[in-house]
Symmetry: D2
Subunit: 350 residues, 4 copies
């Protein structure tokens, strides 16, 4: 529930409402706005006794939040959330945010080389896994903290922001020291201790949709992060399980406008995992932009056939350049700005 205060409500009135909510056994979230303050009520699984709030001084109206999720809902916040990174990239606004890079960090020279290339092509966020969740315990599991250090080096050299995955609560604190955006992968979408720790980190979180998660479940997972006080959540559609084996997953692009109508959080698409087939990444990346995605996450590798993981779905750098050209025009066609490259000359780092 939301308690909307009058535009001239006093601080004391707002505090009284907050105290009353807490006396009722819930948590209160005062949200000052331009026109007026709204106080959110969370922690109520079912019905709230409205009578005790209805008549209080300064209260303008009570708004029920009809969805199982609250703070992530459009009812709670009508304006789009824009997540701002330290290098100036915004996710959720008019511009498209482009995250690109290899599936896994494989070595320092490799990650620096691809970072410089991607930055020059217009990407502003570098992806690369240091901790890799792999179906088999015998597959390459990532370089770990060494990989994080290499990513930090790439950030220093290129000015790109870094997004990389955390696999468990302890590891998340470590990742938070190096990354600008912490990724929670599809397999961990309902790993609640990890979501809570992500909420407490305060860092921007990229939350990927689970393999067969409904949109309601995705939004409830995001609610775990917001419930800990972290509003900087970026959702990511990356394909759901289906019955056809021509692609690795079924990229559900309709999730983009559906999420945008239900929630104020930004949503991007990952057509690399969403298709699992290099030749389908470009058309589906274009389609995601046309469907209204706030950004893209794309796997790019200098030498896909020899990548340590996901080579079959990684673009060659030239293909990424071609893609960037096409999506710029599509973005414009639907009233978004072109992707703005990072300012200043690219510093040569090698």
């Amino acid at each position: 529930m939301l308690v909307v205060m009058n535009h001239d409500a006093t601080d004391a009135q707002i505090e009284a409402v907050t105290a009353q909510i807490e006396a009722m056994g819930y948590s209160a979230r005062p949200m000052p706005g331009k026109q007026r303050t709204t106080v959110g009520v969370v922690g109520n699984d079912g019905r709230v006794d409205e009578g005790r709030l209805q008549g209080m001084p300064g209260v303008r109206e009570l708004i029920a939040v009809t969805r199982p999720y609250k703070q992530v809902s459009r009812e709670w916040c009508a304006d789009d959330t824009v997540v701002r990174l330290s290098n100036g990239t915004e996710i959720g606004g008019v511009e498209l945010a482009i995250m690109a890079g290899p599936c896994a960090v494989e070595g320092e020279a490799e990650i620096l080389e691809i970072a410089h290339q991607l930055r020059a092509m217009g990407a502003t966020i570098l992806r690369g896994g240091a901790f890799k969740p792999r179906s088999s315990p015998y597959s390459f599991q990532g370089l770990g903290v060494e990989g994080l250090i290499m990513l930090a080096r790439a950030r220093d050299e290129t000015g790109m922001a870094i997004v990389t995955e955390a696999l468990d609560p302890e590891g998340l604190d470590l990742v938070a020291e190096y990354a600008d955006v912490i990724q929670i992968g599809a397999r961990n979408m309902q790993n609640y201790p990890l979501l809570r720790r992500a909420g407490r980190s305060g860092k921007p979180i990229l939350l990927k949709r689970g393999m067969a998660a409904t949109i309601t479940e995705l939004l409830l997972a995001a609610e775990y992060i917001l419930a800990e006080g972290n509003p900087n959540v970026i959702l990511c559609e990356r394909g759901v399980r289906s019955f056809d084996s021509h692609t690795r997953n079924l990229l559900d692009l309709t999730a983009i406008p559906v999420v945008q109508s239900l929630s104020h959080l930004p949503i991007i698409a990952d057509p690399s995992h969403g298709t699992g087939v290099r030749a389908k990444v470009i058309p589906m990346a274009r389609a995601a932009v046309a469907a209204g995605a706030h950004g893209l996450m794309i796997e790019v590798h200098q030498d896909p056939p020899n990548a340590l993981s996901d080579g079959v779905q990684s673009l060659y750098p030239e293909q990424f350049a071609e893609l960037m050209g096409q999506i710029g025009v599509i973005a414009e066609a639907i009233g978004r700005d072109l992707v703005r490259p990072l300012p200043g000359p690219v510093v040569s780092g090698t």
Copy 2:
């Protein structure tokens, strides 16, 4: 299997190959090309004894068709099939083909009015169901032959081509008398007697993907039509069954580039059925074009809240106009031409 003849193979040599194929118990399909003639072998479920064809005079090479479908495959025909309608619309070429109209024909005045509007906005093919497959036997089942007559009237007045559905083999012959394109609906994708009759009709066929059909099954269904000698098949992605209830179906746009790599047949998208929600039709129509669809099928109704069927997913005419503006720019961005409106002034029919 394909038997590729030398560029200077004589008619007698081609006939001898054809005769040999038939002597082996298969059917032969001679396909004269610019450079040389190719003879396709169909009717073989498994292996063909190549030795009896390999050494024959004039034979250049034998090409195995590795897919379960043959005549619809890229191996059988490398060039895109372009289906040409009598009003000049082409499906499968550079231009986008736009099919629009109400779910069902509801009356003559209504269909004529919407046809004139749609034609003026750039659609060149009018959709409208006369025979409606409905989940419940107690729902409106369409106007039947009266509906077909109304569609023909709309064609005469506007110059638009007509696409409408046939539900059974006998009905197909009736529909063929009135329609330019005969639709086989998702529920009938594996109705083989209907597919065979569609093949024998010689008319362009719009074949919709079944509710949970794999792409291989879709292409095998098309093969039934081509196997009867009708190459004019247009495939249509219209959403598959999924586990999320926010949309009626899950529109599988990756099917578009997947089909285009496996087959030479054109493929369009139906975001109206693919989403089942009016507000999601425009973004997904844009996405389908960006993914490379050869066209769109869109439900449009003058008064969606009072439509006899599918009102909840039908666009208002103004929304359709807005959509046409957006997809023109996207089409251009990916190297397709804008949709070309029908030539000449719109004849006023009412």
Copy 3:
């Protein structure tokens, strides 16, 4: 809606109610019962004006049918429907009905041999396809009417009832001349002209659940048959589409108790198509019986590796005998009778 008459309502009162319903534009279905007559109202897609029926002489109460399907619902008929075949087999009662036989009829000697074996093992209904719906137009499509004649011969020799599939409305009339039960296959579950013709045939119909049909859709498909006046419908769970490739389909056994709570129609299971793997047929057949199925349909072939279709999922006769032993005990455990073999000595026919 159902109009329940008083136990002493006169024929004239019932006729008056019937006339009133038809004057309102609906169809009336008077159903005389032991205690009282009920008149069903069909043809109403939405709301019925109750006021015009409420006060009529002899009317006891009006019962709304809350499901989209009506005549198939438990609300319409509380007692289980029992379908009785001419050889005495009942489907829907206490006994398990066992349908067994090859996927396709392959020759007279073969079908007679397997029929005698199956009958001796306790099956009372012989399955075998004469018209086969095949994904590829180049696969074996069945022996057609020759196959029907062979099935009739097997019935004459063994006393077994015959179940075989019809693919189109015209073919259905032909099948009806030979078969005791007409099968509508999964691919045709929503082939409405075929369902209507099945309804008009008056014959028992075995309606298989579609590849990705919801249970509501299955019951609505059955409603098409009952709406034509044919109450003898047997439903069949045969697996739905899923994402795991270890089995051909995912056998949804929960559909059995779900259907039994929603509908009075009998439901059997087909673990042969439901799994597509011979070694899984026996455990899943047992499981289907334990879940409460009214019967089973099992593919059995003398020589599965050389079967013309579905050999990989066909049991060897010895395996079928083993299965029959196991399910008898399970049936007893849940309060059903053992399967009763056909009376009298088996007539030797070869």
Copy 4:
């Protein structure tokens, strides 16, 4: 790969093989058997150079493991794994293991009462969540360590073994102090740090299949546990995501025989989560036993309508008693023993 030693291979020969495997960069797992010792090779993602092992003294043969998983495969171990609990219950042998109890531990009196009832009815393992993974952050999350203490009290009083869920690596160590079997829930099936910690705990692990996990993925998840040296893994089928809303999940009973053919690990079924509907739990529990499950996990609550979670799918104690009667007979029918109740009188604890 498996290196099978001769029956008279010496310890020195076995050690030499082990050393050679490790010199090649892999891990060696010597497994002494009745007839001979086998040494497993793990850590190899792809091919092993057989030449270096082939000729070594005492080596009888090399067996390739063709599946992506190794130690969980039938090829690695032909005999069924039997997991033995301290109270004498065996899972994976001839007897059915019955786990029953409330979804969540709600209070000491409640858990003791239901434990005594369940024990008297024949269950030997008590389930109850202390840490609950809930879709919404505002739902009841379990009593935590207090719940664990109550479960331990119930074990002391009844002699039942305890199974309860762990949600994160740290929590797993805590759960391991109290539980006999540690549950890894469906949402955490691919939470690899949690699986590794479970492997290192040495405790029996109940691993539930993920919401849309393939059977290969389930077995690979189990491989993570075995790879840490813990062979005591019990798999659990609990329903997968589907498109029909009549049940919460689609219980995939075919997974039982499929897993049994691919792996030596025991597999049980959870029809409570698998259906989500009380009235469907009994038929599906029977079906699971008939399909060959090694046991069942059933939610039972004294007062389901007032349960703090999952009340709608919890059985009443009387229903559980009825179920126990039915499955005993079915177990016998398929050659399994009846469930053996815990020995000795039930100690009254309240």
